[in-house]
């Protein structure tokens, strides 16, 4: 697979490490009433769809950026690649601050 890195252009997927579903960006609020249940779901349960899947890839053998890759799990076709940083910011989060 070739991943179109937003900064570096086309890169071999073998340069990356795969983490999993991009929902891992959305860490639950640890102070919420149901935090234990939310963290259980966050840590262990997955949608695991057959089809479009947003997932986190880490460019370990490259610029060490985290990417959100939108990929079809049936055909392996990659349709969208974004910097995870940008995705997190779009979701209203900034590094090092509680928002």
């Amino acid at each position: 697979m070739i991943i179109e890195h937003p900064l570096l252009g086309p890169r071999d997927a073998a340069e990356f490490v795969y983490l999993g579903d991009a929902s891992l960006l959305d860490r639950p609020d640890w102070q919420a009433e149901d935090a234990a249940e939310r963290f259980y779901e966050y840590g262990y349960l997955r949608d695991n769809p057959a089809g479009q899947h947003q997932e986190l890839w880490y460019h370990e053998q490259g610029d060490r950026s985290w990417l959100v890759v939108t990929r079809n799990t049936v055909s392996h076709e990659i349709t969208k690649v974004e910097l995870a940083r940008d995705v997190a910011r779009e979701r209203g989060r900034a590094r090092g601050r509680d928002t």
Partner: protein, 416 residues
């Protein structure tokens, strides 16, 4: 019809006109006591043990494609019980014992061959870990035998003992481990279940569950609705997709695992051998092909095909321990879809929906577990109590903090 040497002789002398199909091809009835979803190895062995050992005969197996067309037909056929943790090892040892009696039990030649499995180690630390594993195996009644390099040099002179990076210091044998003919395992169970009246319904895809007030009362299929007192899902590889129809999310990711076969060679590899420093396992089939594999590709996939970096990695693993295979040509490679669970261990459990049961999460260890998986699942379905060796294989174990993590790599499915 009982299969025997006498029968082959008789049929051979009478033009082979007396053979009949190994199982019927029935239409679905209105309802059953148990409907097993998935006609693969585990589904068929569940139906076999339900009907042959637990007296539950009003059973149907519904299968989307053909019997044994999933992972039972695309694995590397290794049987073994060399696990370590208490939640796992007794279960796999039960499986090993069932393998040993399988052919007599099912009256079917599954070509179970206890040609041994050897896990190589390459460092002193790894040897200590294997000694610990061996002791853990003894506790569960399994066999284990530690061999040093001198002994291995005699038994397996073709190994690259003096490899500069990963010298071979010895290995852990399980002599009772080995291989079995994967398709024949499915067929033997199918025939044995059919003979007890189990309906094996092929080309019948489950499209939904009939769930009323938290009780599962049957399945909808492409061949109509089928009522069931109990629905037993057994579709590893597609577990998340099927259980999503019941509104459940699972602690599972689907990953692709590739396997490889070389051209046929004269006998060179006597048993199953695994690499301790990378991930590589190899055996030689009775036809002569080297059957081998390694790591999963590592990303979510339902594609039943993998990519080239893993092909390279697997072949490098092979070359690191036995350079003699370097000139053998690769004949075929393929991929299968694994239920990779959050701790690398499987599930055999009830769900929160009454009447709906779940078996899955086999990672890439499903084949060796086929007999015990079916036996324990049948026990659960027949008695509503888990079998004593499967009490830890629960769906809620992560919530309770009771993971069965052989590798200690945490809730990262692609590392197990």
């Amino acid at each position: 019809m009982t299969y025997s040497a006498f029968r082959i002789l008789k049929e051979g002398l009478t033009g082979n006109k007396g053979w009949t199909p190994a199982w019927r091809d029935p239409d679905p009835q209105e309802g059953y006591d148990v409907v097993v979803v998935g006609g693969g190895g585990h589904g068929l062995s569940t139906a076999y043990y339900l009907s042959n050992k637990f007296g539950v005969r009003n059973v149907a197996v519904v299968e989307k494609g053909w019997l044994g067309g999933g992972n039972i037909g695309r694995n590397t056929t290794i049987i073994r019980s060399n696990y370590m943790l208490p939640g796992n090892e007794p279960f796999y040892e039960l499986s090993m014992k069932l393998w040993e009696g399988l052919e007599q039990d099912t009256n079917y030649n599954s070509m179970v061959s206890q040609r041994s499995i050897l896990n190589l180690f390459h460092t002193d630390g790894q040897r200590d870990a294997f000694v610990r594993r061996a002791n853990s195996m003894f506790l569960a009644g399994a066999d284990a035998e530690l061999a040093d390099a001198a002994q291995l040099r005699k038994e397996l002179p073709f190994l690259d003992f003096d490899n500069a990076r990963f010298p071979i210091k010895g290995g852990l044998f399980q002599r009772r481990g080995g291989t079995a003919r994967h398709d024949a395992v499915a067929w033997g169970y199918a025939r044995g279940a059919d003979m007890q009246g189990v309906d094996l319904i092929q080309n019948c895809e489950v499209t939904g569950f009939e769930i009323e007030n938290g009780v599962c009362k049957g399945v909808q299929t492409t061949r109509g609705a089928i009522k069931a007192k109990k629905v037993a899902v057994c579709v590893a590889g597609s577990s998340s997709r099927v259980m999503a129809m019941a509104g459940m999310r699972l602690p599972i990711e689907s990953h692709v695992l590739q396997a490889f076969v070389s051209e046929g060679l004269k006998p060179v590899i006597p048993g199953v051998i695994t690499f301790g420093a990378g991930h590589f396992y190899i055996s030689q089939s009775d036809k002569g092909g080297l059957v081998f594999g390694g790591d999963i590709d590592g990303y979510n996939s339902y594609a039943q095909r993998g990519n080239l970096p893993v092909v390279e990695d697997v072949c490098e693993g092979g070359m690191a321990i036995m350079p003699m295979i370097g000139r053998a040509r690769l004949l075929r490679s393929w991929g299968g879809i694994m239920d990779m669970s959050m701790d690398g261990s499987p599930f055999i459990d009830k769900t929160h929906i009454d009447g709906l049961y779940f078996n899955g999460g086999w990672c890439y260890g499903g084949f060796k577990a086929t007999p015990a998986s079916g036996y324990c699942y049948a026990h659960l379905l027949a008695t509503d109590e888990p079998h004593e060796v499967a009490t830890e294989l629960r769906l809620d174990r992560f919530k309770r903090g009771h993971m069965i993590d052989e590798k200690g790599s945490g809730n990262q499915p692609n590392l197990h």
